[in-house]
Symmetry: C2
Subunit: 152 residues, 2 copies
DNA sequence: ATCCCTGCAAAAGATTTGCAAGGCG
DNA sequence: CGCCTTGCAAATCTTTTGCAGGGAT
């Protein structure tokens, strides 16, 4: 358990999305609402291009530039994070800003969220006890590379 | 301690570099020798551009395209890895292919290698005991974000 | 009404590709 | 010698920027 993709978010309702933007200090435009919804719904942490493909299927007039600008504003507002990935050429985004870890599937290139408070404690305790020379750690994220198994 | 940058690699001798390429099944050209040397010497995991700047200071005729092709060949041969980074626009490379972790300095944008067999065991044991649903882990890399402190 | 946001198009930045000439084994 | 690699330049892909018009508060 604990793979966040086990439970695909049920399409979040418009009110919730609007609140999320407003609380982050962003104007709730039609475009941003759709972009945020796509980000929350698309699996595997999408690129700007993938978000764009998703939103234009509903509203073809939204431009790719707007998607880039919206994603930038989400990151600046702390609503979204950029994902660290070694593969691929494009930036990928993560709508979840709480501390968590990532599973990298070498087959599908998906990046799957993994939350585990027990693991978090283990790591924090390790560094609290051991320390790092000349470095003040601030946050930890474990990258687990491997392959997704067919879920029955 | 154990921050690999504590001990800057003494300029590796040509014979060693040549052996490394040959063992990986690559032709030891003048360009590749210089590119590999730069990769091993430059701190913080350089981009292709940074490697290029370094090599042209010795041999101005080497082109950026050659640097890209050489780095690709190193990665394909398992001599080098691409680094997973959330910040910046360019790819960054790591000449060390053994399992290790990374410190990300939010001030300097440097990515510093961190080796710790004790940490490796801790993580492996954790997942051996706990397991992951629908995922077969293959390797682990901890990303530690924080700030480098002035070393006295 | 005021600013912020959008769409478009051009620009900038990063990486890849094709090809002729040269170098390595 | 034969094949792989290089240098160059053009092509491609990704992301950013400038600006005029439109929309949210």
């Amino acid at each position: 358990m604990a793979l966040s993709t086990d439970h695909f978010p049920p399409t979040p309702d418009a009110g919730h999305l609007r609140a999320r933007l407003t609380q982050a200090g962003l104007r709730a435009t039609r475009q941003r609402l759709m972009i945020l919804e796509s980000l929350l719904t698309l699996p595997g942490h999408p690129t700007a291009e993938q978000v764009h493909r998703q939103v234009i299927s509903q509203e073809p007039s939204i431009s790719l530039g707007t998607v880039y600008k919206a994603l930038d504003s989400f990151v600046a507002a702390g609503l979204t994070r950029r994902v660290a990935a070694a593969e691929g050429t494009s930036r990928r985004y993560d709508a979840d800003c709480t501390e968590h870890h990532h599973l990298f599937c070498t087959n599908t290139q998906e990046i799957i969220d993994y939350c585990d408070p027990q693991l978090d404690s283990l790591i924090r305790e390790f560094f609290a006890a051991k320390g790092l020379q000349n470095f003040q750690p601030h946050s930890f994220s474990l990258h687990i590379t491997g392959s997704k198994l067919a879920s029955k």
